[in-house]
């Protein structure tokens, strides 16, 4: 008995090896034709056709709500979603798609990219791959990260929309619920120093212009105040001797429409944010000029030398 078993042992091993080889081939290539010919064993062909399944988008989300933008700069905003396809991740990663973050109050997901109301991922349009939608098995996570500019529309209706099309041209869409981008008041000025030159007491300076830029996403008024100008010697110059117009230059030897004071005074500036929808380049900030003069009052205190003060420009949502 022991001998019989012992004699059959090589065949058994060969059988096991062939079995394993068959299993391997079947798994790797279902359509491979089995070995032809005759033997003490035989095979039959097995065939199968895998259906092309629809991809499925789920859990689409924007990482911030509400979004607080940054004046004159960008805020990184991400939209991500899980995409599954029973045909496996290769079916997704070999496909294409797009993700659009847009303000549904003023445009649609078919919008052209711009910094005001439409941020699109052009990478997805040219094809997905493991870099943009990494995953494993039948599920990937697609993530669209975008620098959102300061002029993105202040709205409560921002959405993230995703379209995915797999290799088999099957597709799915989904979008988030409405998200909010908060109001952003952002202001900058053209000159850090307003130099009124050299003045004789009892006279007005020339007009000095000061540009005001809207680096936010709302219509701005501007609030102004200032300090007395402190002089190197003698009597200081009262803040009320600074006079300004917000609509045009001040006529010769005249006071402007407003005199500066020590307390903030609101002026209807109505400076709109950049709302351009025609290009996707880095936005420029809209600007308006203000015009300033200094009246140098006479004083008993003698020569003053150089006098300096501070003027505050505070952005304020236009009412």
């Amino acid at each position: 008995m022991c001998d019989i078993v012992s004699n059959n042992q090589p065949n058994f091993l060969i059988f096991i090896a062939i079995f394993l080889l068959l299993v391997f081939f079947i798994r790797v290539e279902p359509h491979v034709t089995a070995f032809a010919g005759f033997n003490s064993w035989n095979t039959t062909n097995t065939t199968v056709t895998e259906s092309s399944e629809n991809p499925s988008i789920s859990s689409i989300a924007i990482d911030q709500h509400p979004v607080d933008l940054v004046a004159g700069s960008t805020r990184t905003v991400s939209c991500s979603a899980t995409v599954s396809d029973d045909n496996g991740i290769a079916d997704i990663q070999g496909g294409k798609g797009n993700i659009t973050i847009y303000d549904s109050a003023v445009t649609t997901s078919a919008c052209s990219a711009n910094k005001f109301n439409c941020y699109k991922n052009t990478t997805y349009s040219s094809g997905l791959d493991a870099n943009v939608c990494p995953g494993s098995g039948s599920e990937v996570t697609c993530n669209f990260t975008v620098p959102m500019y300061y002029n993105a529309n202040s709205s409560t209706a921002w959405k993230c929309y995703m379209y995915i099309e797999d290799q088999g041209a099957n597709n799915d869409t989904d979008e988030t619920t409405d998200k909010t981008i908060n109001d952003l008041t952002g202001i900058d000025i053209g000159s850090a120093t307003m130099n009124f030159g050299t003045l004789s007491p009892g006279s007005f300076s020339d007009n000095i212009s000061q540009a005001i830029y809207n680096y936010g996403n709302i219509i701005l008024d501007v609030q102004l105040n200032g300090t007395n100008m402190t002089c190197g010697a003698g009597e200081n110059i009262g803040v009320g001797n600074l006079t300004y117009n917000i609509t045009g230059e001040i006529p010769d030897a005249s006071w402007g429409d407003y005199n500066l004071s020590g307390t903030l005074q609101n002026r209807d500036f109505n400076l709109y944010p950049n709302r351009s929808t025609t290009d996707d380049s880095i936005p420029t900030s809209p600007t308006n000029s203000t015009y300033w003069k200094l009246y140098l009052p006479m004083s008993q205190a003698g020569s003053r030398g150089t006098c300096t003060g501070t003027i505050w420009f505070v952005g304020n949502p236009s009412s």
């Binding site: 300061y150 900058d188 600074l242 006479m298 004083s299 008993q300 150089t306 300096t308 003027i311």
Partner: protein, 325 residues
């Protein structure tokens, strides 16, 4: 002998791992630096901003307004002083303190004799030397008119010998605190002639004289306390005696040029004014406090004999009256 040890496979693997870590860290640093630079570029934005307002106040030249030297011709006081004034408004748009902490000169001078840089003297040049040094409120001679104007009034005692001309002026110059300069002159002002005289002794005592004899010479000094060359007119009265006969005025005799010779007559005094050529000049020296110029006259008395007995003490009056030479 130098031996080089080949690293083991484990060591080589560790080296590779460390190298990769170094590369990753390096790239991370580069990325961080770029990101930081980007943010810095936007750092100026906010919901507010400030601008520094700046102006340089020009140093303006002061201006001297109309300079006034008295309001009419100046009449001096014999042997004394007369206060005169020179004033003008000075303005500086930098403020009156710019004037008051500056410097200046006020000079009252005779323009025919000197200029406004003259050295102070009573005859032709009066200066405000205190004003020269400036100081707070210009030592009290300036009063505030407004924040940018003061009126400076220089008053000075003008002496009796100040030159009698029609060309006295007041010159005012100002240098403000920033060395800006201005000056102006008044129009001409007259200093009138002043005839001033004084005598050395209120009593001319001829002593005790015997009838029929001359006294010794008695000198009487005449001083010019005015600003013109003077002669002197003289007259007198009869000398009244305690008793007996009075002494006629003609017995008083004088010389204006030197002593009367022994037992001789000079010019006899009369009851009427008689002018004598004294030619006594005023003080024209360059001193700030003048002294009067003087000339001496010499007198004798002849005591006539009388039949009325002893006269006792006799007294009379001699008049000295100055006139312009």
């Amino acid at each position: 002998m130098l031996k080089i040890k080949r690293p083991s496979q484990t060591e080589e693997k560790n080296y590779s791992t460390n190298f990769l870590i170094l590369v990753v860290v390096f790239l991370a640093v580069i990325l961080f630096i770029n990101a930081e630079s980007y943010m810095t570029a936007f750092a100026g934005f906010n919901s507010w901003n400030t601008s520094t307002s700046q102006v340089v106040v020009a140093n303006e030249t002061p201006s001297v307004g109309t300079v006034n030297l008295q309001s009419a011709a100046i009449t001096l006081t014999a042997g004394s002083t007369t206060t005169i004034g020179c004033w003008a408004q000075i303005t500086d748009t930098n403020g009156r303190d710019d004037i008051l902490t500056g410097h200046g000169n006020i000079t009252i001078y005779d323009d025919t004799a000197v200029d406004h840089d003259c050295t102070a003297n009573a005859y032709t040049c009066y200066r405000n030397l205190t004003y020269n040094t400036g100081g707070s409120m210009l030592n009290g001679i300036c009063s505030n008119d407004s924040s940018t104007a003061v009126t400076c009034n220089f008053t000075v005692p003008m002496y009796y010998n100040a030159k009698n001309t029609t060309t006295w002026k007041c010159h005012m110059e100002v240098q403000d605190n920033t060395t800006e300069f201005a000056e102006a002159n008044s129009t001409n002002r007259v200093v009138n002639n002043l005839i001033g005289i004084n005598i050395g002794s209120s009593t001319m005592d001829f002593g005790t004289i015997s009838p029929g004899a001359f006294s010794d010479n008695v000198s009487q000094e005449i001083s010019n306390y005015g600003n013109v060359i003077i002669d002197v007119q003289l007259n007198g009265t009869t000398m009244n005696c305690d008793t007996g006969e009075d002494i006629g005025v003609g017995n008083l005799t004088y010389n204006v040029t030197g002593e009367i010779l022994h037992a001789s007559w000079g010019t006899n005094l009369t009851g009427s004014l008689v002018e004598n050529q004294l030619n006594l000049y005023p003080n024209t020296s360059a001193v700030t406090t003048p002294t009067a110029t003087t000339n001496s006259t010499y007198w004798k008395l002849f005591l006539p004999t009388s039949d009325q007995g002893s006269r006792g003490t006799c007294t009379g009056t001699i008049w000295f009256l100055a006139v312009i030479d």
